[in-house]
């Protein structure tokens, strides 16, 4: 005991019972001999116990579902918020790349598509790029329909009307001007209560100035394309052709009565 003086560190370790038994006994003997220090150290020990008592109920509370480890692990296995941009970028790159390889294959094996057949594939390609976009699926929203009509009509060089598909259960979301191998086209997007999106693509036609409705299908996307009075139209979506056919008929009826 007379070899090592008692330090404040010893006193705190005594409170936390972190001393080896020999030193613990030395500190106890010191405290017996120094009542003022003993009073303070007893106070430390008492407050330590009080804090533990006071905070114990927090640790006894049932764990809220947000802190379920299994669930948190499962959530991380899906793309998280921070990974979303990377995933979105990868999706777009894949679309562009597969589109490019498709064009190369098409060029080697068959003559380039023209007319209404080409228009259908342009609609499918634009559908693949713009409908999964969560932030900017359209450039001008439905509220700016007048501005949109002016814009696309000016770029396409002729008046373009926006078909109304409410009766078929699809609301107009908005649209934009997009590029095709045959010049600018108008893209109009619609959705229904289940989040299903449809795209209508329209552009002036050099070939097939008038053509009957014909189906287009590429992967999970299908639809119908036709041309009338020099304008081509293509309506595509994820729905099967039986659902899309009457909607395409409705679009054709509206644009032919407006033209």
């Amino acid at each position: 005991m007379n070899s090592r003086p008692i330090t404040e560190d010893d006193l705190n370790a005594f409170v936390d019972r972190r001393l080896d038994p020999g030193r613990q006994a030395e500190v106890a003997a010191y405290l017996d001999a120094h009542p003022e220090v003993a009073k303070r150290i007893e106070g430390y020990a008492r407050q330590r116990d009080q804090l533990r008592t006071l905070l114990r109920p927090i640790a006894d509370e049932p764990i809220p579902p947000e802190l379920n480890v299994r669930r948190l692990v499962e959530l991380q296995e899906r793309p998280s918020r921070s990974n979303w941009w990377a995933a979105a970028a990868a999706a777009i790159v894949l679309t562009v790349f597969s589109g490019a390889s498709g064009w190369m294959l098409r060029g080697m094996s068959e003559p380039p598509l023209q007319g209404v057949a080409s228009l259908g594939h342009e609609a499918v390609d634009n559908y693949a790029v713009y409908t999964p976009d969560r932030l900017h699926p359209v450039e001008l929203r439905a509220v700016a329909s007048n501005e949109l009509v002016d814009w696309v009509s000016q770029r396409l060089g002729r008046r373009v009307e926006i078909p109304n598909l409410e009766a078929s259960g699809y609301r107009f979301m908005g649209g934009r001007v997009v590029a095709t191998p045959h010049g600018p086209a108008a893209l109009f997007m619609y959705d229904n209560d289940h989040g299903v999106r449809l795209v209508m693509l329209s552009r002036p036609m050099a070939v097939d100035q008038g053509a009957p409705m014909q189906p287009v299908s590429q992967g999970d996307v299908s639809g119908f394309s036709w041309a009338a009075k020099g304008m081509g139209y293509s309506l595509v979506g994820p729905a099967d052709s039986q659902t899309l056919h009457p909607i395409a008929d409705e679009v054709r009826r509206q644009v032919s009565s407006a033209a």
Partner: protein, 178 residues
Amino acid sequence: MGTIMTDMTQFLEPLIPALRRYARALLRDRTAADDLVQDCLERAIAHWSQRRAGGDARSWVFTILHNLAMTELKRKAARSSDVNFESVEAELPAPPSQEDGLRYRELLGALAALPQDQRAVVLLVSVEDLSYADAAKVLGIPLGTVMSRLSRAREKLFKSVNEHSAGPAEQSHLRRVK
């Protein structure tokens, strides 16, 4: 994947009560504290391969939580600098009995009034039972600094509560101490 899932669950789940307690005692806000614990668990899961083996794994998770808490407290301090004693009572559990109420409130007030780094040492050592060495790792400070902060913190807690309630209350403490 199944085994890693089991490992993570078996290791992290038993820590959650202590993590919630530490976070709430530091932030004094139940929702903010649980958000922090969720954030901490997500990071522990995402960086699972970086955990240290053995007893260190517990201090690894506490380190993640502590750093998140310090960031959150700095963010809060930027908005308002005063210590809110009302929220201490609102967010921490009620004392076990009426007669202990005053003493507990004073102790909580004194704890809340400590500088953050001293409060963290007291909570890790006195409440969460971390060794001094583990506390040093969690706080990223030398062992000697842990000891000096602990010493200062305990001295302040003792002084502030005894200054306010010397007398009968103190007598009853002394009788309780063996």
